[in-house]
Symmetry: C3
Subunit: 343 residues, 3 copies
């Protein structure tokens, strides 16, 4: 529980109303009740704050003077709400200890205050930091290192020699470090495997979605820099490098050797050609196919065109039938003129 004034301080907002109002829970706008904090995310919600039952409503400045509601006023209201949800709902870590069913091979090094659920299997020489949580069915290969406060959900597989940082979250079913996809056809067409000798490095504060597949590098490593967030069912090809704080939505596939800058946003079902570089802070729209390098700070849609050019083409694409009609009329008129001339 926080009072309005306490929560305001915690999330870096100004407050307006009853400083002592008690807030127990975060909730969506339309479901909020007494004791809740909620978010008025846009003008439509702002127009309805008087009808909201929440004890406190987070809004962007300016305050709504006419309303008789407790406000938390924040320059970045969504960010303030995310922090409020954490303040009210984050469960502090409690170690559950090491299950009697735990299987570890030789020479593992285990930190303190662990939560190792049943049916976890470690290879040789695995190093676990402190306060690591491993859910049932987790399999970690030889010589992997897992940092402090990292959570690995059920049935995740981590192949040998991978390094996972601190405070990383890996969701169920993800596969880290499978062999990169490298084959060369021989003289008769049989595919010869290019052995994959690199590793996967996942730095601090990354989150990996359910059933993702992040392949190990060929010679060097596949690297996710600090704070990368991957949604579910994402493919990261060998030797890819994803920059700090980049966010990638579900079902996107990075081909081998893709370099993505920091603070980028890739929407769902995006695909990249091999060895593409995407600049910092670029935004790639859903289902885009990135076939060439993308400059920093650009927005890209469709087949990797500049977003505004692509939008124009996209709009015209829908108007192609009209375009053709206009062209037909032009041709008809011209034919009439030509007939007039030849008379």
């Amino acid at each position: 529980m926080h009072t309005l004034a306490e929560l305001a301080q915690h999330i870096g907002a100004d407050w307006l109303g009853d400083a002592e109002a008690e807030i127990h829970r975060a909730q969506a706008f339309d479901a909020a009740m007494v004791g809740d904090v909620t978010l008025a995310a846009d003008a439509a919600y702002r127009a309805r704050v008087q009808d909201c039952a929440a004890t406190a409503i987070i809004i962007a400045p300016p305050a709504i003077e006419s309303a008789t509601v407790n406000f938390l006023i924040a320059k970045h209201p969504k960010l303030a709400f995310a922090r409020a949800i954490q303040a009210l709902h984050h469960q502090p870590y409690q170690a559950t200890g090491i299950s009697g069913d735990f299987i570890q091979n030789k020479d593992c090094v285990l930190g303190n205050e662990l939560s190792i659920h049943p049916r976890v299997t470690l290879g040789n020489e695995v190093v676990l930091g402190n306060r690591v949580t491993l859910h049932p069915g987790v399999v970690i290969g030889d010589r992997c290192r897992i940092g402090d406060d990292t959570i690995v959900y059920a049935n995740v597989t981590i192949y040998e020699d991978c390094e996972i940082g601190n405070r990383v979250i890996i969701h169920a079913g993800a596969v880290i470090g499978a062999a990169g996809f490298g084959f060369v056809p021989d003289e008769v067409g049989t595919q010869v495997k290019v052995l994959q000798l690199g590793r996967v490095i996942i730095e601090d504060d990354c989150e990996i979605g359910a059933n993702c597949a992040i392949d190990r590098g060929g010679f060097t490593d596949t690297v996710l820099r600090r704070g990368v967030k991957l949604d579910n069912l994402i493919q990261v090809g060998h030797n890819s490098l994803i920059g700090e704080n980049t966010v990638i939505a579900a079902l996107t596939g990075l081909s081998g050797g893709t370099t993505v800058g920091r603070n980028c946003t890739l929407a769902g079902q995006v695909g990249t050609h091999q060895h593409i570089t995407i600049g910092d802070r670029a935004m790639i729209l859903g289902q885009a196919g990135v076939t060439k390098n993308i400059a920093a700070d650009t927005v890209i849609g469709g087949m990797a065109q500049d977003y505004r050019a692509w939008r124009r083409s996209q709009v015209l694409f829908a108007r192609l039938p009209e375009l053709q009609e206009r062209l037909k009329r032009v041709e008809k008129k011209l034919a009439l003129i030509a007939d007039g001339k030849s008379d």
Copy 2:
């Protein structure tokens, strides 16, 4: 085994031929032999019924008078065949009991006639209905409820607090209830997690394909209504709602807050923007990107245009080179006219 007349009654078809003919098996048209029932799915197969070795052939009306074959005549022949396959091949449930290797935490409630294979792990306060089958490697989190006659295949993970109905089938590797993908960048670009407090509700008679990922809701729940069928490798974002009997093909991704109506068909690799609503009985073609709301009873392809408009554009898209040539000719003629005038 069924006789022709019995099978006709069972699947709701008329029969023509030897009422006592014995049918033991369903089989594809070209592989069918004596003792089999098969399907003549279209005119091409109808033309070949006399060559088919099956004991009975399911067809749409009218009967083929010239043929000396046993027929099962049904208004919906594919439906009749699906029922015939079930009548002949459905394996009745037989409980295998609870493996000695079963691990359950505190206060679980278990129904009767269970089939719990080895290496299954339940959290606290899990409730299992009657005749539930849990294959090896299944991990079910705290406070989940699993209905009667539900089958969960190997290595499925269900996070805490999810509700799975009766007669649900969840295929191997699926992940139910991982955190929805919600992040807000802070002032320096670090992604702040929006804690996901909702659940996943899967109602009766749903089927979830292998390696699907269905995220839990943010505040409210992600919901699959009764009879939804998901193919493999599908992403269902947080707070999505999928209506009754809707069918979705592989590798499709629903963004957060997508609402899909009932009896819809989404083909493979479809993607939706956030907060899109798709009306009842809509059909979305393969690889379509749904960027706006879709009315009920429409067919949609490409970038979420009406199907017929999209088809026209798609046809013209392929004819763009010709279009450009025609435009060039027009311009050339006009230039000639202009030259004539200026002379």
Copy 3:
């Protein structure tokens, strides 16, 4: 370790330089050091061979006469390099034996020199060949057969009655043999399941990526012919047939009944309609939607057009705004002419 001359012989290359130079490791061009073999993959790398620290560099003919470097000269340098990596880095198989934690049901037949890690579960009547490796969490259903020297990584699920050949590699999280996606709506829209009675057959030397899903056939089988290589997160629908040595990149989905020829290349995120046939040696570009049969030896992009036609359209698609501007000018000029005439 190999000498230059030994390695040349092993990989089928000519050598130039110090026959006795010792090579211990394969490495990427820019990271290579003394004792390494590397690859100069193209003209840009060829121009830099003198700056490379590697003990031997694989190049295509002709030799670079001016350079004072040890060369391995091969007609197919990438293939030669793949073989060199294997020669230097392939780990010979060493059986680790059968874990005490192994669970097998009735009547399994086990080969010799096995490596069965903990937490592996076999159904009834499973047959394992010699030198099979099963990682933790592998679940194999009744009556499956697994060939010699096959490696199944962690948390893979193989449903009943599947056949896996010799020297197959199945990466973590893959699901082999789940029910194909077959439903028929009944009179009120409820989806009736079409029971799937076929199997999955994976022939020798195939490799299946992490978290792939390969569905069993309806009546007949889903078949991967010898030497097929699948990247991660690929969907193979029921009754599909993939020809020898075909390579498929990540997140591609084959609909039910897709037939792919031999030695084809399908890039990432490709989708196919049901019952499509793709000819031998065809190449399908990334994100293409294959809606009709594809002839052998063709290159296909976009919505399954011929590659060259598609490229022309694709180029014009980006120029549609210009096209529209030109059309407007034509119309304006025509209007002026018409005005002149009507005066």
